[in-house]
């Protein structure tokens, strides 16, 4: 009678989806040390789970001091952009099995913004650039009593750039932004693009003028890091080049 029971237990162990994955996290606490250190956390996790689940497991079960941002955990709020295995991604959209769980998974804060603690960065410069391009509808004249109508084609023109969730994955993957942080960055330009090419908006000229500045679109080096990093699949580099084209064609 004992043998079948053993077999069943062994079969269960073999069927267990859990594997041991090492999370190598870049920890930083300014109250203790001005240096950031890598810390390894080996955890048991189903490879079909996401990196965010691993971080939760560490924070809830192993080390409650691990600090990171996340809100919706479903790739919509854009809170948990981080550098996973050297690439900017959303922790909530990255499955463990897709990023080679045999090796340690490195998780660090996004680059180019000040790290406040562990994986939390100061997003203020990023949002300042966003505010600078006036990301809101500007119109003249009387407000219509009904909605502002737009043809399907006119809506299609800027459809791609409406998908931005402001996670900062693109801006913090941009080598020009890393240098001095004065460049507007892909995210701000994407959100300017969304209104510049909106047929209902009337401040496109003003936004183009802002992006014509020395830290505007002309600093883009078309390295395509932003397009690679975007978790929403926005063709960021293409949007930046469309703004450049609009700047040139409006003058000549």
């Amino acid at each position: 009678m004992a043998t079948p029971v053993m077999d069943k237990a062994e079969a269960e162990a073999a069927a267990s989806p859990y594997i041991t994955v090492t999370f190598r996290i870049r920890r930083f606490n300014p109250e203790l040390s001005e240096h950031a250190v890598w810390e390894d956390f080996p955890i048991e996790i189903d490879p079909k789970e996401r990196v965010l689940d691993g971080l939760h497991k560490i924070k809830w079960d192993l080390d409650g001091t691990l600090t990171f941002r996340r809100s919706c955990a479903h790739g919509i709020c854009g809170s948990d952009a981080m550098r996973i295995n050297g690439k900017n991604r959303l922790a909530c959209k990255t499955l463990i099995k897709d990023i080679n769980p045999e090796k340690p998974i490195t998780v660090e804060a996004i680059k180019g913004l000040t790290v406040l603690k562990d994986l939390v960065v100061d997003m203020e410069p990023f949002f300042q650039a966003y505010r600078d391009v006036m990301p809101f509808l500007v119109t003249k004249g009387n407000e219509p009593t009904r909605e502002r109508l737009q043809s399907a084609e006119a809506r299609e023109r800027f459809d791609d750039t409406t998908k931005c969730i402001l996670c900062a994955a693109c801006t913090t993957s941009c080598p020009v932004f890393w240098n001095d942080g004065q460049y507007f960055g892909p995210a701000a330009i994407v959100n300017a693009h969304r209104f510049i090419f909106d047929s209902r908006d009337e401040a496109g000229e003003q936004r183009l003028e802002i992006l014509n500045d020395k830290d505007g679109v002309w600093r883009c080096r078309t390295t395509f890091n932003c397009t690679d990093a975007c978790p929403r699949g926005i063709e960021v580099t293409k949007a930046i080049q469309e703004v450049k084209r609009a700047l040139i064609t409006r003058r000549f």
Partner: protein, 159 residues
Amino acid sequence: MSTDTSSAIGPVEGDAVVYDVDNPAPLIEAPRKRTGKTPRATRGNFEMAAWLFMRLSGVVLVVLVIGHLLIQLVLDGGVSKIGFAFVAGRWASPFWQVWDLLMLWLAMLHGANGLRTVINDYAERPNTRLWLKGLLYTATVFTILLGTLVIFTFDPNIR
């Protein structure tokens, strides 16, 4: 339960320093900041002109430089034919004078603008930027003026 709690604190926060009103935690300053309000347009269309110039001069330079290299190094005897007489003979024609002048100006401005971009992208401190750009502009102006002077005042009978 207390033992569980202490083991759940990693080495990074192991010996936590206590901060209070008299001993506040250090303030982290952003290494670089964007301005608080929308920045004023500073140099008009200079950046756009520079960007366009790079594209247009690049196209022209491809023709000029490849033509130059073919004539100087490949066709009609190759590099061995080049001497004072060869250069004097070419510069007797206004066509080659204009060709070389155009190539000099476009190549120097194209290269200088490219280096200006590189300095803007890689120099982090304003002072470094200032000095590198000063050096770059001086070298560019000197080379362009010297080259132009030579092309216009070239004397084939010089001894």
